[in-house]
Amino acid sequence: MGGTCDIEAIFRRHAQTVYRVCYSFLRATADAEDATQATFMKLIDHPRGFESEEHEKAWLIVCASNLCKDLLKSAARTRVVGLPEREPADPRQAEPLDETLDAVLRLPEKYKDVVYLHYYEGYKTGEIARMLEERPSTIRNRLRDARRLLRDMLGGVA
């Protein structure tokens, strides 16, 4: 509560996690780095206490996720005029990726955080639901749909 937080310790604990969340949304190193820093800046601007390191991690993940979603929308609305394609033309997105990661990053926005939290961080659907303030059934449906999309994109199991 009040005062300052040990930003260095928090950063060292969770920088990679926050970066992965940001990268999964923004798909570009520079953007993900900026968003990662902006996420931790929120703790400096508005210091707060956490019940545990898990609570701290969950907060950062949700904060990063929301920030990235907001950035994506801000970027989309500034692209004006006659863009017939749905994909925004962002030159910073052109980075070579392996097939599976590319498929994961191509998932619609609403699946990105649940997929990362479940498949990489190992959170259960109930835990994810609490973090994202969604119903467990919503999370389960999104994971199911994301899996289906990934299978379609990847042409089955490796």
């Binding site: 999964s24 990662t36 800046m41 609305r77 017939p84 749905r86 392996d98 994961v104 619609p108 199991v157």
Partner: protein, 240 residues
Amino acid sequence: MMAGEDRLFDQRIHDAYEGVVLSDEAQGRMLADLLAAQEAHAAGTEMHERPTGAEHSDHGTSGTATKVIPLARRRGRRRWLMAAAAVAMALVVVRLSGIAPTGSHDKSASTADVAVGGGDQEAVTYKETEATPGDVGGSSDVSVEDTESAADITPHDTVDFYPIVRLGDGMTLSALVDAQHTVEVDASRVGESLGAASASPADAIDTVPCEVYRLRDDPEGYAVRYGDETTYWYCFALGE
């Protein structure tokens, strides 16, 4: 066999993220900036509470600390009133299409006294006081709240999650809902029920009826309500 295949697939997804790594160099750079920002923030807080410096002045000088602007400082976001339905929220990806804003606004007549709302709700007459889509100086006679019962609209304190979109003259807003439903909003038709809106190219599958309202509290604010079960509000602004 199926369970084994599933496990392999899950592992494949897990392993995909292993390649996403924040470099040591980037970490070092970020940490240095964060520590500097924290120091400046703390110094700024102290000076705000207690004057520092050997010199005295009638104004109580606040010292000479400078404020470090972090690399990724975001612009301030405006908050909007938004109703969140009881069902799962749809993420909205907004894309602008159409003619670029020219900076000048054509004065064109628009319909007024359009009845909005419907169904079981009491219809409210909406009067658009400004004739041009780009002119946002006026305020509407009806707010979002007027068109629904109190139970249907819940201000959401995370509404700044949703973007502010500025529509210029001749521009339309294409809102993609769940990457499947698309609504197009023409700013000149504010206040009208758009009914079955046209879909954006390529990926739209269905159309979703929607209504556009001008917000009373913000002369530049508009809200779109999708006429599906979620009754989802999305706020945007006119400008440029």
